[in-house]
């Protein structure tokens, strides 16, 4: 991962090599790609706009001919959510970075929100959106998109906020010095600087999002059952009808969708974002993508870039340019305002808490809390055991792969693909196996929780091992370190920051997955593993809002505590002691 890419040197950067005006083959290829994208988008949009009567209760037919359209609908939901997440990110993160008062509220809120089990949200949002658009499928669509949004937005906003706060001081000074307007400063300084982090987080969010789009398409809240056309609903129907062939088709369709997403979206964007990397040296192998190479070679793209530049310049002229940027002076009264602001926020929080107590007290007592906590501890035990198991398997495997560049180059994309693949599509197959061999659901449903999330451990460890300095490896070889000592003193400390990142993501994902993994069915057969996930799932199915709230609350507290008490200290230790740079 750290060698120079010879194919890149000598090539002129995009948009500056002078050539003729006639179109070439690359132009044609890009044109076809873009035309296809437009056609697909237009078709999907028409489907959503179909009159409401036809759509409510629109039956899902397990006909392979419908599958491409369902796959497309699922994908469109995904992209709608990512657009919403980006807008949210730009607004909220910018607000947090520019206003201290907003920052005081937004940062903790993001921290908590990303620990809340997303699927628990669905109960409320479905009802809300259905009320908002009565009799229309749009409400259910919004609820599904919102569910995906809530699984994506927080880490993106946080990444963008962090970038905005760490823009290099000298570049800020240059921008102030040449009196760049806020608009120009954003596009020339802040957005490019934040781009690599934001894009990486967006891509990670999208990879995680496939799981939720599948889970949120078919949902039952009390008496209301909604099945939006998509792969998730197809799967739900296949489970009801015990159609294993349809399940396999769904797996195949999902694999195709993820593969296309990986090749056409993920890799080109990561390769493109590399140019925004804030470093003054050119070493290191760059991420590559054939689609991006195609795009760069096409002349059409240069026209597009120029058009965009012209548009940007036009807007720039509309935005008033400040005569002189105000110089920030911090007065002592500011602290007083901060205190008042915190007091106001605390008051609102207290009121909200009071309302929650009022709401839950009608139907809950302390016994319910005890039960929920017990269930939470069961699920907690599952998460701990499974993450430990996954680590025991994938850390040595990841180290082995990461230390061999050829293996890393082959396995890394596969691991990223597997992390994006929604594991819940595979659940029915596992359930069939459990039913067939009469296995105990309390034990055998558990592995489903890490089915999709274990790959985060693998690909982070691979990345860490690939980045491990050669001189340290050579030194440890020269001193003939024994196996145990090598693991203890060389490689584990070396990959610890990467491992912690991966394990944290995997654990968070597993908590979320428990809501769909601890309850499973195959036709009339229902399998249930005792735990907080099944507790929330049952409450959702029964329309028991109070217990849903309780379950989500307990789960959020447990996730936040895990993060604070385990992962955060471990990560800090890794950053302080074991950073290699």
């Amino acid at each position: 991962m750290r060698r120079n890419d010879p194919t890149r040197s000598g090539q002129p950067p995009l948009g500056l090599a002078g050539e003729g005006l006639s179109p070439n083959l690359y132009d044609l290829a890009i044109f076809i790609l873009i035309a296809a994208a437009f056609a697909i988008l237009a078709h999907g949009a028409r489907q959503i706009a179909v009159p409401a009567e036809r759509l409510v209760g629109h039956p899902i037919v397990l006909d392979p001919r419908n599958l491409p359209e369902y796959a497309l609908r699922t994908t469109l939901r995904m992209f709608a959510a990512i657009v919403a997440s980006l807008i949210f990110t730009f607004v909220v993160a910018t607000l947090a970075a520019k206003s201290r008062k907003a920052e005081l509220v937004i940062l903790p809120a993001l921290d908590i929100l990303q620990s809340v089990p997303v699927l628990g949200f669905l109960t409320f949002t479905v009802t809300y959106f259905l009320h908002l658009f009565p009799g229309s499928e749009l409400g259910a669509e919004c609820a599904a998109i919102f569910a995906i949004f809530t699984s994506q937005a927080w880490n993106m906003a946080f990444s963008f906020y962090q970038s905005l706060r760490t823009v290099p001081r000298d570049l800020v000074e240059v921008s102030a010095h040449f009196r760049l307007s806020p608009w120009l400063t954003f596009w020339r300084l802040e957005a490019p600087f934040a781009a690599p982090g934001l894009i990486w987080n967006t891509m990670m969010s999208m990879s995680g999002g496939w799981f939720f789009v599948v889970a949120s398409e078919a949902i039952t809240v009390g008496d209301t059952t909604i099945k939006l056309p998509g792969i998730g609903s197809w799967l739900a129907v296949a489970i009801d009808e015990k159609d294993i062939g349809a399940v396999v088709m769904a797996v195949a369709a999902m694999a195709v969708v993820i593969l296309l997403y990986d090749q056409l979206v993920f890799r080109p964007i990561v390769a493109w974002a590399d140019k925004f990397r804030f470093e003054q040296t050119a070493a290191r192998e760059r991420p590559r993508s054939w689609v991006y190479d195609l795009w760069r070679r096409a002349r059409l793209t240069r026209r597009t870039a120029q058009a965009m530049g012209w548009l940007g310049g036009f807007v720039e002229r509309l935005v008033p340019r400040p005569a002189a940027p105000p110089i920030a002076v911090r007065s002592s009264t500011a602290r007083l305002f901060d205190l008042a602001w915190i007091a106001l926020v605390l008051a609102i929080v207290a009121y909200a808490l009071w309302r929650i107590v009022l709401f839950t007290r009608q139907s809950l007592d302390w016994h319910d809390v005890v039960v929920a906590v017990e269930m939470g501890l069961l699920t907690f035990a599952r998460v701990v055991v499974l993450i430990a198991l996954a680590s025991v398997i994938w850390v040595p495997a990841g180290v082995w792969i990461g230390l061999r560049p050829w293996a890393a180059a082959t396995v890394q994309p596969v691991a990223q693909f597997l992390a994006a693949f929604p594991a819940n599509v595979l659940f029915p197959i596992a359930v069939v196996a459990i039913v067939h061999w009469h296995l105990h659901p309390d034990i055998w449903l558990s592995p489903l929780m890490v089915l999709g999330t274990q790959w985060y451990i693998l690909f982070n460890v691979i990345a860490g091992a690939s980045a491990f300095p050669t001189d340290l490896r050579e030194a440890s070889t020269l001193f003939r370190l024994r196996q145990g000592q090598w693991w203890r003193q060389v490689i584990i400390p070396g990959i610890l920051p990467y491992y912690v990142t991966g394990a944290l993501t995997a654990a968070g994902g597993s908590w979320n997955a428990s809501i769909v993994a601890e309850v499973a069915s195959w036709g009339d057969t229902r399998l249930r593993a005792a735990g907080l996930g099944s507790y929330i799932a049952d409450a959702t199915a029964a329309g028991d809002y109070a217990r849903v709230v309780l379950g989500i609350g307990v789960m959020s507290v447990m996730v936040v505590s895990c993060n604070r008490l385990l992962w955060r200290p471990l990560y800090r230790l890794a950053e302080r002691r074991y950073r290699l740079d």
């Binding site: 950067p13 500056l16 090599a17 000074e173 010095h177 009196r179 120009l184 720039e316 110089i327």
Partner: protein, 437 residues
């Protein structure tokens, strides 16, 4: 304070009684600039020469309109500065180029901000690139360029907006010796031939030779708080020769001025603060020993001329002065009039074996660095012989900015470890008396 500046139409820049205070962690504000008054006429190059902590960068940023003065006024071309003035362009020490923009786009950025139409912007940027010797690199990204070429981009970016006053913030200090010299010479050539659209240059530097080489006038800044201690006119004709005796004499003279002991101040007057809140510079025991050995050895025999010492060691004053002054603080040497002379203790130190050096060093640290003595006393008094570092850091922060407190504590930790006065555990952040076996 009642100096009245005779203002003439020739004055491009007038800074009048400028003061700058920074808020500290607690207590009083930190005074970084005290009553600085300076004038810049057209057609001159003026250097602000000072060491780190002399507030020279703060002064430059006040002039550039990037930072407000706490009191006093700055005006450029007769107009008071209330933000970045259009007549001014600045070259940054760190180059401060946008890594995602090409050379051409980087140069154009100032014009883009002024909303110059693209065609004209392009033409002017190419002209500036051409002038500064960057042709052929228009489409390169900064990371593909060497440090010297990057700073040329910074220079082109500043010149393209046609400023009247060019500010240079230690613009050559991040470059290697040869590259910096080439760039200085090229800049002087352009200046002498009148090919740059600027009428004056104000450059901030800590390099004495650079100041003598380039400027018509040198303003020497003294530290703590920053103030102009002397003004030197340089009348040597351009191009100047570093080996010219008159050039050398001027350099020696400035060294002497910058190390002159101010009457009425204590020996450690060069370090801000007193008692345990004495602010220490980050100088390692190895560096101290190294300089003592250098001064003791041939051809100096215990007494050396600082410029003569600095040259062969490739040290600039910002590297050399803190070491020399720390030796003075620890009574291993005396620094005055541009010379450094080892004390008896210093001579003895050089002759000792490693263990003896540690013992002597620890005696001097305990005797002359009140903070070290303070930490030792606290550890002795406590039954556990341990104390958290945060306790001392809080004490320091009452008297100095957070960053200085951190630096001071790190320095005293490193000295304490070398002298085996106390131990420090990085993981727990605790000082203790037990030495690990």
């Amino acid at each position: 304070m009642d100096t009245v500046l005779p203002s003439t139409t020739n004055d491009l820049l007038v800074a009048d009684h400028v003061r700058k205070l920074y808020p500290k962690g607690s207590g009083e504000d930190l005074l970084v600039l005290e009553d600085v008054t300076l004038r810049l006429r057209t057609n001159e190059i003026v250097s602000l020469l000072g060491r780190s902590g002399s507030g020279k960068s703060s002064l430059l940023r006040i002039i550039a309109g990037l930072m407000p003065a706490s009191s006093g006024s700055v005006s450029i071309a007769g107009r008071p500065v209330q933000g970045p003035a259009p007549e001014v362009a600045m070259v940054f020490q760190t180059f401060a180029l946008f890594p995602w923009l090409t050379v051409l786009e980087n140069v154009e950025i100032g014009l883009e901000a002024q909303r110059v139409p693209p065609a004209e912007r392009h033409k002017r940027a190419l002209a500036a690139i051409d002038l500064i010797g960057l042709d052929g690199y228009e489409s390169a990204y900064p990371k593909e360029l060497s440090g010297g070429m990057r700073q040329r981009v910074g220079l082109a970016r500043a010149l393209v907006v046609h400023p009247r006053l060019l500010l240079m913030d230690e613009a050559f200090s991040a470059l290697d010796v040869l590259t910096a010299e080439t760039l200085r010479t090229d800049l002087l050539d352009l200046w002498c031939e009148g090919r740059m659209p600027i009428s004056s240059i104000l450059l901030v530097t800590h390099n004495i030779e650079e100041a003598v080489l380039m400027s018509d006038r040198i303003l020497v800044l003294a530290s703590n708080p920053g103030r102009i201690s002397s003004e030197i006119k340089v009348t040597l004709p351009q191009p100047r020769n570093r080996l010219d005796p008159a050039f050398r004499a001027l350099v020696d003279d400035i060294y002497a001025r910058m190390t002159a002991r101010t009457a009425g101040k204590t020996v450690h007057g060069m370090f801000p603060g007193t008692g345990i809140s004495l602010e220490l510079r980050r100088v390692s025991p190895n560096l101290l020993a190294g300089l003592m050995e250098q001064v003791a050895a041939e051809p100096h025999h215990g007494k050396a001329d600082l410029p003569a010492l600095a040259g062969p060691l490739q040290m600039e004053i910002d590297d050399l002065f803190p070491v020399a002054e720390t030796l003075q603080l620890l009574r291993f040497a005396e620094v005055a009039e541009g010379d450094i002379r080892l004390t008896d203790a210093g001579r003895r130190f050089v002759d000792l074996d490693p263990d003896g050096r540690k013992r002597l060093f620890s005696q001097h640290v305990l005797a002359y660095v009140p903070l070290a003595g303070h930490i030792k006393r606290v550890l002795d008094e406590r039954g556990s012989h341990a104390a958290p570092a945060s306790r001392f850091k809080d004490e320091l922060e009452d008297h100095m900015p957070v960053l200085s407190a951190e630096q001071t504590l790190k320095t005293v930790t490193s000295w304490g470890r070398y002298g085996e006065i106390f131990a420090y555990d990085e993981d727990t952040g605790v000082f203790s008396l037990d030495n690990p076996a």
